[in-house]
Amino acid sequence: MPKEVFIASGIVFGIVFGFLLKRSRFCAAGLTRDIVLENRWHNAVYIPAIVMMEAFIYFLMVGSDVIPGPKMADFSLFRIGLGSLMFGIGAVLCNGCIVSSLLKCGDGRLIGWISVPIFTLSAYIAKGGWLASTTKSLDKVWSVPDTLLANLPISPIVLAGVGMIIMLWALRYVYNTTKLGFTIPGRYAGWRHIVFEKIWPKEMVVMLIGIWMALGFLFSNWAGRNGGFGITTPLVSWFEFFTAGKSLGWASLFVLGIIMGAFITAWLGGEFTIVKPRLQSIVLTVIGSVLMGIGAVWASGCFIGNVMVGTAQFSMKAWYSTIFIVSGVWLATFIMIKMRTFTRN
């Protein structure tokens, strides 16, 4: 099959990913934030469940020589930590990470169309613009080799397999103890209600997302790219496509697909509405998108690239980044709670 067909498959992966996120109301930053904001500790199960499911299938494919293994590079503890912290704080200011902004673009919330271009421009500035030299010089501060995968005491397939079984048990427990005791009213019946309107349980959707993200490695590889789902570099590729005529790849189409998936799902579910943002949201989103854009480049990844993809490859850089992204989300949430308490009194 020609390579172009596999490159085009990126759009299908994006549409399905956007669809799954919309159907389950899955928001990685929101789930992380609500652990401290609403004391919903069961939220801590969903992302590790995706990671372990994805890791198991990924290392099965690597072990079977279907796809090449990950390439680990040295990374700066300082730059990754700082960038991840900035990204986490920015995600709270934007009421969701950059993936949520893409979904907002698709489901009619105009705030998404403010967030995505500002994020993309900020990321470009940090990657290839006037902040590029700073990005490069920060990379040399406290640089360490990424040796986690190479030093694992057991096979990554076994580790991921055990992790997956534990997380499946945890998902079952969470599903049984946190069922929503209220039915969302529907406008449609039959397949349209089930597919596009009914809210799917997160516990089921995270399993589908894990499998889908693992398959992303396969199709991305067939398209000539060694990697899984990604957001930041693909968004920058659109900027470079329009400004410098550079070519687009599998992941560029993937991010476009997320917007399309959110639109199709919202439209067919009768949810598509143009929502104008308020001034306060616009100001916070502009600041948050700049922090996320620069932060994602300095962190060499975001909630997708590091927290949900790199971790599944057992990259030390990704696990290290995850600690700081989560810390950034929680730090900003604590500040938000304090500020609201202060303004109320």
Partner: protein
């Protein structure tokens, strides 16, 4: 008892609709009702979930062409 409290959170994304609801519920009397309009799709799950967890009664959750409306009794 005070009248029904009405809050408009259209245009605000999560967690702000929930925070507005919590702020209002904290000052309401038992049996008093709250009507909250929202446009954030995630709040469709978050708001009823919060009410269930804190033993407030969701009287209705309706959708119009422009927003969802939840009616809650404390």
């Amino acid at each position: 008892m005070k009248d029904i409290i009405v809050i408009d959170t259209k245009g605000l994304d999560c967690p702000l609709p929930l925070m507005e609801m919590k702020k209002a519920l904290a000052t309401m009397e038992i049996g008093q009702e709250l009507i909250l309009d929202f446009t954030c799709p995630e709040a469709v799950v978050n708001l009823p979930n919060y009410c269930k967890e804190h033993k407030h009664t969701v009287l209705s959750l309706d959708r119009s062409d422009t927003c969802w409306t939840i009616k809650v009794k404390k």
